[in-house]
Amino acid sequence: MTQSPNRLVATIFGAVYLLVGVLGLFVAGSNFAGPDGGLLLGIFQVNHLHNIAHLAIGAALLFAGLRSTPAAKGVNVTVGAVYLLLGIVGFFLVGTALNILALNTADHILHLASAIVLLGTGLALDRGTRSQHATA
């Protein structure tokens, strides 16, 4: 795993997002979905739907990171693209009833930073993975 930056990033991000998802369950209170939520670490606003998304994304990243480099690469690019989309679309949803994930400004910064790292790692590193497997 230490030979592949994609597996390393997927494993670390997966573990962190799983932890964030579990911690969020304790602060979300009775907010399941909607613009209101509890503050995680005093900054990030979450509700239970947001926590479920964190748990699902964390599990997918961790599983892929522990499995193989192509799997980690694929999940990194996919999750990165989804977070990038959420970063831009989420901004237009804040303050409306459509903000079902209780997104706030700190969430947007975290999502954009995660998107850049995941997408950048998936697209820029381990480029020879497929050809190595093909020739092996």
Partner: protein
């Protein structure tokens, strides 16, 4: 080193693309010149494509880089000089951030590749570069997005539902003493 700089430039282009798309996606805010939304959205999409291709290590012609990366700045400066009413519709902070990120990316990506340049950067320096540029670009892009029409409608963090918590149970509401005095006079 060049491969790392290209990676940082690609991340910068990604941030610029987000801002261009956010500014262009609110034509109601560009009331005096709604047509500005079209080139801004096109430039944003182009900048996204440049960022993805640069991350994948594809060589890009200078002309194909400069088109999407410089278009919003050229448009903005051109409007400032020729059409001040149209320029006033563009938010200052987001356009400054977009121009800085896009032109910085263009300058780094337009440099000719060295013959000995590695196509793929080493893993550890690449991850450190990605983490640092991601933190900086995400902070700049989010601050800039907050200055767009969408951001102005955004509720700052921690303020959802506060109107319900302003009156704490068991606490007597504060009374305006001047009103009490006025009541005594009656």
């Amino acid at each position: 080193m060049d491969a790392l700089m290209r990676m940082a430039a690609a991340v910068s282009a990604l941030g610029a693309a987000l801002i261009a798309l956010a500014v262009g996606a609110a034509p109601s805010a560009l009331a005096s010149a709604p047509w500005l939304a079209v080139p801004l959205l096109a430039a944003g999409a182009g900048q996204l494509a440049v960022a993805v291709l640069a991350l994948r290590g594809r060589p890009l012609a200078v002309a194909s880089l400069l088109g999407p990366l410089a278009l919003p700045t050229v448009l903005w400066v051109g409007a400032l000089v020729l059409l001040p009413t149209a320029a006033a519709a563009l938010p200052l902070g987001p356009m400054l951030a977009e121009s800085a990120l896009a032109l910085g990316a263009a300058a780094l990506l337009a440099r000719p590749r060295g013959a000995r340049e590695r196509l793929e950067p080493r893993p550890l320096p690449a991850l450190l570069t990605l983490a640092c540029t991601a933190a900086v670009v995400a902070a700049i892009a989010t601050a800039a997005l907050a200055g767009t029409e969408a951001g102005r409608h955004a509720v700052p963090h921690g303020e959802h539902g506060q109107h319900q918590q302003q009156e704490q149970p068991g606490e007597a509401p504060q009374l305006d003493e001047s009103l009490l005095d006025e009541h005594d006079h009656h």
